[in-house]
Structures are given as structure tokens and as C-alpha cells.
């Protein structure tokens, strides 16, 4: 039977199942589920509602920042400043509210701060041609130092007249007893997923990561988009900072120290490619979840906490290894 050209063109090469099996995020989800099942049987304390509440809440802060980082990583960039930006934003919120301003003004000031930092990073990278690594490494240092300046390196734990509102925002559970941070994470993940899949902006982000030169030649506004992704990344750090401040009820200047590495690890484990062009919202969340489950389980299984880094680092290398193996097979 002859196959016509139209049939060939209309043919879908991948079934739903084959695409699922080739998807790194899928395998990380399986890993998380298996780990959870194992831990429920191996320990008494894992599957308690208190522990699960703890895990989900711990995941959220890294996950929210990882969502913003996903945009940057898809374009082939990196943002090392997120941990410090989170700290600075928390501090801006705390100091503003401590000075007697309302929560609305505090949040507005925080968001403006985050966007300004993101724009600064983005403009230097896109228009001046700095390597992202260098600019954001500089900002890592600058933002934390500014947080110290803003607070005179003290702990802020009184947030003025709207103190209770802020604590409720971060620490409450307004819907079905789900911790608020988890709700925010889900909403932000849905927005991220929508932007990446259904908007022109999202499509152009992938194009820049795939072949920046081609994107420029075909008329994609590469520079503006690059500025935008660093602003999104800083904004996600700022939002996580607001939520975390409400959750903790206190801000210190070492908040978010080393967080950038956890965030980058989460996106990479979830399937984003540091070379650019690949990444998903779900991947960022699932990657953050796997890291947290590993951390949590080590504690519950009575393994020395010093091993944590080894296991998380191992997960990163393993995740990238799977990606390499797939690529080897494809090039054969």
C-alpha cells in the first residue's frame, strides 16, 4: 500500500506513552513517589500529617524561586543572585513595615525592589553583553550587603501595625487546611506553565535558548526578553521572600544563604538543561520536592545530616547523567 505524502506529514511520530517515558520530569516524579512509599514503610514518622505538612511547606520556597529560575535557564542563562535577592526583599518588607507602613506598601516596595534588581541584571546581560554568571555573582554579594545595610544587620521580628496580617499571609491555611505557601506555589506554577506553553513570550524564551542567533535573525526581540526573564527570576525571589517572612515571623540577614544552588539543583533535577532550550514548571516543583524528600528522609532514617550534600549532589549528577544517556542514544 502506498503511503501518500499527506499521510506522512500528518503522522504523529510519538504516542503519549513514548513521550512520557522519554520525559525526565516523569522519572523524577516516579522517584519521588517511590521514595515516599519506601519511607512510609521504613519509618513511622514519615507519613504523619505533621511531617508531610513540613515537607510541602519546605518545598515551596525553593520551588517558587525555581519557577522564576526556569525562565532564565531556558534562555540559557543563570541567576546566582536569587538567594541574596530573597533576603534583601524580605528585609525591605520587614524594615518598611517595621517603620509603621501598611502591608500593601511593604509588598509594593518589595516588588519594586525585586524588579529593579532584575532589570539591572538583565540590562547588563542583554545590552552590555556581560556573562550572566558574572553579573548575578556580583549581585549575590551586593544584595546581601544591602540587606545588612537596610537592617543594620539585626533581626527584624516586629512588623508594625499589619504584623498579624503578614503572619496570616505566610503562615495561614485559608483553603482546605493547605498551608498558604503551598497554594501560592501551585498558583505560580500554573501561571508559569501557561506562559511557557501558550504565549508568544514563552515560545520566544525557548527559541533564545535553542539558538539565540536564529531568534535574532527571525525578528524575536531577544534583548527585551532577556531583561524580562531576569526580572521574572528576581520577582519570584521577592515573592518567596514575602511569603517566607510571613511564615517565619522574623527576618535575619542570612536568610536564603546558599539557596541559589538548591534552586538551580531543583530545576536541573526537574529536567531543565543548563545549556538552554529545555525546562518546565512542573519540573521545577518536582525537582524541589525530590531534594526536600531526600533531606527529610535522611533525618528520619537516622543518617548523619553531614551526608545531605552528598545525596543531593548525587541526585543532580544522576539527573544529568540520564539526560546524557538519552542524547547518546539519539546521536547513534
Amino acid at each position: 500500500m502506498a503511503v501518500t505524502l499527506d499521510q506522512t506529514i500528518a503522522q504523529k511520530q510519538h504516542t503519549f506513552l513514548s513521550r512520557l517515558l522519554a520525559n525526565q520530569t516523569f522519572w523524577v516524579v516516579i522517584a519521588v513517589i517511590l521514595a515516599c512509599l519506601f519511607l512510609s514503610f521504613a519509618t513511622d514518622s514519615f507519613a504523619t500529617s505533621k511531617n508531610l505538612f513540613n515537607i510541602t511547606r519546605n518545598v515551596t520556597f525553593v520551588a517558587i524561586v525555581a519557577l522564576g529560575m526556569t525562565f532564565v535557564i531556558i534562555t540559557g542563562g543563570i541567576d546566582l543572585s536569587v538567594g541574596s535577592v530573597l533576603c534583601l526583599c524580605s528585609m525591605v518588607l520587614a524594615v518598611t513595615m517595621h517603620a509603621g507602613y501598611s502591608i500593601e506598601i511593604g509588598i509594593l516596595a518589595t516588588i519594586v525592589t525585586a524588579l529593579a534588581i532584575g532589570a539591572f541584571n538583565g540590562v547588563l546581560i542583554a545590552y552590555v553583553g556581560f556573562p550572566p554568571f558574572v553579573v548575578t555573582l556580583g549581585m549575590l554579594s551586593v544584595a546581601r550587603s544591602l540587606a545588612m545595610v537596610a537592617s543594620n544587620n539585626t533581626v527584624v521580628f516586629q512588623f508594625g501595625p499589619d504584623h498579624q496580617k503578614l503572619l496570616a499571609l505566610g503562615g495561614g491555611a485559608w483553603v482546605f487546611g493547605i498551608a498558604n505557601p503551598v497554594l501560592y506555589m501551585i498558583i505560580l506554577a500554573l501561571i508559569t506553565g501557561f506562559i511557557l506553553r501558550w504565549t508568544k513570550f514563552g515560545r520566544h524564551i525557548f527559541a533564545i535558548g535553542g539558538n539565540e542567533h536564529a531568534a535574532t535573525l527571525t525578528g524575536v526581540p531577544v534583548k527585551q526578553i532577556k531583561v524580562a526573564v531576569y526580572m521574572i527570576s528576581a520577582l519570584s525571589a521577592g515573592l518567596a521572600g514575602i511569603i517566607q517572612t510571613g511564615w517565619l515571623g522574623a527576618v535575619t540577614t542570612n536568610l536564603g544563604t546558599g539557596m541559589e544552588l538548591q534552586v538551580i539543583a531543583a530545576t536541573v533535577i526537574g529536567g531543565a538543561n543548563l545549556a538552554g532550550g529545555v525546562g518546565t514548571a512542573l519540573g521545577a516543583i518536582v525537582g524541589a520536592a525530590l531534594i526536600e524528600v531526600i533531606r527529610n528522609s535522611l533525618g528520619l532514617l537516622g543518617i548523619n545530616a553531614f551526608w545531605q550534600g552528598t545525596f543531593i549532589g548525587g541526585a543532580i549528577i544522576l539527573a544529568v547523567l540520564f539526560d546524557r544517556i538519552r542524547n547518546f542514544r539519539r546521536s547513534d
Binding site: L5, D6, T8, I9, A10, Q11, K12, Q13, H14, R197, W198, T199, K200, R203, H204, F206, A207, G209, G210, N211, H213, A214, A215, L217, T218, G219, V220, G277, V278, R330
Partner: protein, 247 residues
């Protein structure tokens, strides 16, 4: 009336005269081979037509009207499309996404518009069918053969009503079988009344598909003749300078 008419076009970069007083015209549905050694001025000439460079001297007329272009987007608006030598494709995107890159179709109301995947897959599929290329719109470009990649890049030029398609070394880096495929793509463009400029080093390709050959040497046009009245030997002589110039 010719589609494109170049009159006394020159371009110099400082003291270097890259293109020197070149005139020629392009007719609709004509394939013109543009040949010359490295540094002969082919790329500079094409980049002026594509809007990358502005000529230092001379004028360009598109369908009788003088055009001055400052950037490639303006050339595109005039119906001048270019297929870059490296094809300018994103490997991580599907064929349809690459065809529509920078001019994605969207549906919805006002600012609430989402990408119209279905329409883009459909139209991209139609374009591949027109090009008689076995290219699936949903496949990632990274999995494609050289010929399919060319089809994607060429389909891009057919989205709008292109009048002129400039192709920069489309057969330089692909296998023999795929070369035939690409030459067929060029014939399909020609049959739709599009003027094609084929920049190539490969003599057999030009003699296979082109109606006319223009030879450049050291920035000057040294020949502009029908393929039927020329020969590979003559063109080689013109490129190397063994033959000075022909009418």
C-alpha cells in the same frame, strides 16, 4: 517589469571596495545563480538586498518603486526573504514552531491571546506538502535530515507572499541525495512565480536549477548570461579570472 532592479550598486567598508558598480535585474519565476570565489562580493551584495547593509552608492527598485531598507525586517515587509546559510533554526523547537518563529499565530480576544497550535501545525503541514517534502510539523528539528531542515527554512519564506527568496549556500553541507531534494524545493518556489537567487560554490547545482548565472570577481559583475549559452568551463574561467569578462 522586473521584480527587482539593482542599478550601479556599490558598497565599501572604509578603504575596501566590497561591491563595485553592480547592476542587474531579477524576473518573477526566475532562478539566478550567483557565483564567485570567496571575497568576490556575493555575500555583501545579498546582504544589501536582504536589508543587512545599505549600499554606499546606487539604487534598488522593487517592482518599479525605489526602496531603501535599514534593517532585515523591512526587507521582509517588502517580500524579500532570505534563507541563511546556517538556516537559523532552533533545534529544540518543532518544525512548525520554527516556520512561525517571530510571527506566531495566536487566537483569542484583545490582550488575552494564546498560541494557535492547531492552525500553525496545519499551515506548516500544507507548506511542506507544497514543497513535496516529507517533513512532519510536530517533529523536533534536531531529529531532522539536512533536506528536511532546508524545507523548514524554505517554508518560512512562503508564509508571507514572498517575491524574492535569497538562498545562501543551501547545498554546501548536505548529502548528495539531499542536494537533489533542495534543488526540487527551489524549483517549487520558482513555479510559484518567486524569483530565487541561489548563492553557491557548486557548479553542478547552479547548472541544474538556474536559468541565468551571474559571476562576480573582486566586487565586480563579470558575467550575466543564460545558463543555456554558458558552460561550467566558462564560468570557472570567469570565477578564477582566466576569462576577463563576457558580455
Amino acid at each position: 517589469m522586473s521584480v527587482l532592479e539593482l542599478a550601479n550598486i556599490s558598497k565599501h567598508f572604509g578603504a575596501i571596495q566590497a561591491v563595485n558598480d553592480v547592476s542587474f535585474s531579477l524576473e518573477a519565476g526566475e532562478v539566478v545563480g550567483l557565483m564567485g570565489d570567496n571575497g568576490a562580493g556575493k555575500s555583501t551584495l545579498v546582504k544589501m538586498i536582504a536589508g543587512n547593509f545599505r549600499p554606499s552608492h546606487g539604487t534598488m527598485h522593487l517592482e518599479g518603486k525605489e526602496i531603501v531598507m535599514h534593517k532585515p525586517a523591512e526587507a521582509r515587509q517588502h517580500g524579500i526573504e532570505i534563507v541563511h546559510q546556517d538556516l537559523a533554526l532552533c533545534n529544540n523547537l518543532t518544525a512548525a514552531a520554527n516556520v512561525y518563529l517571530g510571527r506566531e499565530l495566536r487566537r483569542g480576544i484583545g490582550p488575552f491571546r494564546i498560541l494557535d497550535y492547531a492552525a500553525m501545525y496545519k499551515r506548516a503541514g500544507q507548506l511542506f506538502a507544497e514543497l513535496k517534502s516529507e517533513t512532519r510539523p510536530r517533529d523536533l528539528v534536531k531529529q531532522m535530515s539536512g533536506g528536511q531542515r532546508q524545507a523548514v527554512a524554505i517554508a518560512r519564506t512562503m508564509l508571507s507572499q514572498a517575491k524574492i527568496v535569497l538562498m545562501d549556500e543551501p547545498t554546501a553541507a548536505i548529502s548528495v541525495r539531499q542536494v537533489a531534494e533542495v534543488l526540487n524545493l527551489i524549483r517549487h518556489l520558482r513555479d510559484q512565480g518567486i524569483a530565487v537567487v541561489l548563492i553557491s560554490h557548486r557548479m553542478p547545482d547552479v547548472f541544474d536549477v538556474a536559468d541565468r548565472v551571474i559571476v562576480m570577481r573582486r566586487g565586480r559583475k563579470v558575467a550575466d548570461k543564460k545558463i543555456a549559452s554558458s558552460s561550467p568551463e566558462e564560468v570557472t574561467g570567469l570565477i578564477t579570472g582566466a576569462i576577463e569578462q563576457v558580455a
